[in-house]
Symmetry: C2
Subunit: 432 residues, 2 copies
């Protein structure tokens, strides 16, 4: 008998049919003799509807105690109806628990609270009594004040992974409307194929570089607690992708074929359209000028990604500094730098969102120096111009023109022989 | 400075406009220097929508732990957006609290829990800090299990009255879409007028006999705790109706003219279309046969209202027993009696929902024997046939044909000189 944590996203419980389908799967897992804890997101568009309501009432709510209270109603609804369906339609006893009832203790930062403790005493008791425990994702409680908090983006994944770690679960299954982790986004590369396994290190790089299947935070959490994740679809019975924690020599996937001894060279190609590029033109080429630029951006809490500094050959004594950052921080970055124009002594700022980031990820590239040659050759053959480059031990990333991005992804995917025949199945529209 | 509890029903917060209107009123009350606690129902049709969702997922949820969890999401939404509006639009600090956070402790009967304790420590602290406290109506927590419960029909009124009593509030204002308590339902009697005051004893009789403006339970609660209720509209600034607790000799209504020393003879005419009549025909006229009939109905938890036993002159040794009860208990009553037909020895059961109940209520009738004469004379002049009669110290009720009910209400209203010129204003469609 295993203890299995199953997390279902909003697209899996978008309507009554979805709720019933999920109830069936939960009940089947329980009937197979497992202990089951379910973490559920708000139904379909509920969270957006609640945000719209808040915006109608006031444009000035911001991230606040009250907005958190409002948004948590969404999971309260989905968990209660799911529990009803499991009880009444499937005849398997189930109880729902809010984040606070499930012992998800957080700090007090409304809108993006961090977990400080997980005390799932009531969940353990429910399991001991033979019940399926259904837990509201995304939410917790600040113990100091008793106020309800939300965990921010990817919050339900975090709830699931944190609960699985606290309960020492055998596996945490993350259900969405896609079959697993693919070698590339199937909407861009129709010949992309699903990976049976991926290491958590690789998954971290994929998530950090544009893959939306799992949130970075939950992958980090799972890796830290040596927890096995299984990414799969609630719309099919197919096995998905198992994210294997490192340092797990005796790792035995549950109900899955053994992990191959040798990891494939490359896991996949991730892409990201959410970045923008800022170029600070004509910065005086003296020691400390780059430090000043990045010091200011750091004070403004702006997250930089890639950075390049070019010495301009035709203009001595000045340099250009380029960096990328999330588009939604673009305005703030430009404003911060513009206010310090005199102090920094640069000529002008250029800002563009017409860029894309492409990342090749694979644990195997550590030991294979030929990877970067093949990578740049593929981009060159496809006529893709490279604006910036960054690398880690298991990743190479480049910034390209936005309109060349899809073509670049397909070219790299093909060059590393990741293509399969036939098309990948994508359920629903969002691919979340 | 007063402590004022304000309760807003679903029709007052049906949409973003309603929320903003209520926020303005709450903030104005606070700005006038009062401590303010707000109890809010779910927005408009939210509760019905949630019930529909539950029914879509399973027809077998019943009253349950999970249904209670589901329904409480409605108040969670309305209280959070109201708190946002008061904070951000009105600039008055406000905090929202769930039933559990507000210390509404109940027994464990899901769907119709009873309050066992009210511990509003967090509400007191919020008031001390100068905040408006906004509390979710209708909900509480079973302390033994930590499970969320709901208080059943009229639950938000009960929350408001119970909180007001626990906080020793100066007044509990119950807001809806009508201006107060009327001498009759203005949809039936356009010349009905609003009462400035009514005693809680009279209000109890009105509520128990079909007036829907206040729920019986909250009137009982307010009377028990000697709490002043003020029934008024959230759509106007008019003073409403003050429900005066008895035994309050030094009663001074807040911001209202003094109570007249002499109560008017009659407060109003209530009517009720939700009753049915059962007649058990040909019961053996022996001692104990009526007791047997009512004993069986009592065991089946059926609430009887009026009872009449007629000796049939043309059939010696048998009698007919008639009683009224809520229509939704009709099937159960008929089934219960039919199963015992042989044991009870009656001939047949007649069942009809084509009846109406009319009640004349007034504390002044205690000392005025002329009231019943005038009452029956008015009904007789209007050609209304009376099927059953019951009375209390301050009430006379009759059962009439359903199709004659409205006419009967108008006739009695006129006979007791309750008519005014002009028509009463009714906001919204429901008159709740």
């Amino acid at each position: 008998m295993s203890l299995i944590v199953q997390k279902f996203g909003g697209s899996s419980v978008a309507d009554a049919e979805g709720i019933k389908r999920v109830a069936r799967r939960v009940a089947d897992t329980r009937r197979a003799g497992n202990d089951v804890v379910v973490v559920v997101s708000a139904m379909g568009d509920t969270t957006d509807d609640l945000l719209d309501l808040a915006a109608e009432v006031t444009p000035n709510s911001g991230a606040s105690r009250e907005l958190d209270m409002l948004l948590t109603a969404g999971e309260r609804i989905s968990m209660a109806v799911l529990a009803m369906a499991v009880n009444a339609e499937e005849g398997v006893t189930a109880k729902s628990f809010t984040g606070s009832q499930a012992g998800m203790i957080t700090d007090g930062i409304h809108g993006s609270a961090r977990l400080v403790e997980v005390n799932p005493g009531r969940i353990r008791r429910a399991l001991e009594e033979g019940d399926v425990a259904i837990v509201a994702g995304f939410q917790g409680m600040n113990r100091q004040t008793g106020d309800i908090t939300t965990l921010g983006r990817g919050g339900s994944d975090t709830t699931a992974v944190a609960l699985a770690a606290a309960l020492d679960a055998d596996v945490c299954e993350i259900y969405s409307d896609v079959d697993g982790v693919f070698t590339a986004d199937p909407r861009v590369v129709p010949s992309a194929h699903k990976l049976d396994t991926i290491t958590s290190e690789e998954m971290l790089e994929m998530a950090a570089n544009g893959s939306k299947i799992l949130h970075l935070r939950s992958v980090e959490y799972a890796r830290r607690f040596n927890l096995k994740l299984h990414v799969r679809s609630s719309f099919s019975q197919l096995e998905g992708t198992v994210v294997i924690p490192e340092n797990t020599e005796d790792f035995k996937p549950n109900n899955l074929k053994e992990i191959p001894l040798e990891q494939p060279l490359i896991s996949g190609v991730a892409h990201d359209r959410s970045q923008a590029k800022v170029t600070v033109v004509g910065v005086p080429d003296v020691p400390g000028s780059a430090a000043q630029v990045f010091g200011l951006l750091n004070e403004a809490n702006i997250n930089l990604d890639m950075i390049v500094q070019n010495i301009s050959t035709d203009r001595p004594n000045v340099t250009d500094i380029s960096f990328t950052l999330p588009q939604d921080q673009g305005d703030k970055a430009v404003a911060t730098l513009s206010l310090a124009k005199e102090k920094l002594g640069f000529e002008e700022i250029k800002y563009t969102e017409e860029i894309g980031k492409l990342s090749l990820v694979g644990a195997g590239m550590k030991a294979n120096p030929g990877v970067s040659f093949k990578f740049f050759e593929a981009l060159s053959n496809a006529g893709v111009n490279i604006q910036m480059i960054s690398t880690s031990e298991i990743r190479i990333s480049v910034i390209t023109e936005l309109e060349k991005l899809d073509e670049a992804v397909r070219a790299v995917h093909t060059a590393f022989e990741l293509d399969t025949e036939g098309e990948a199945t994508v359920y629903g529209g969002t691919g979340r």
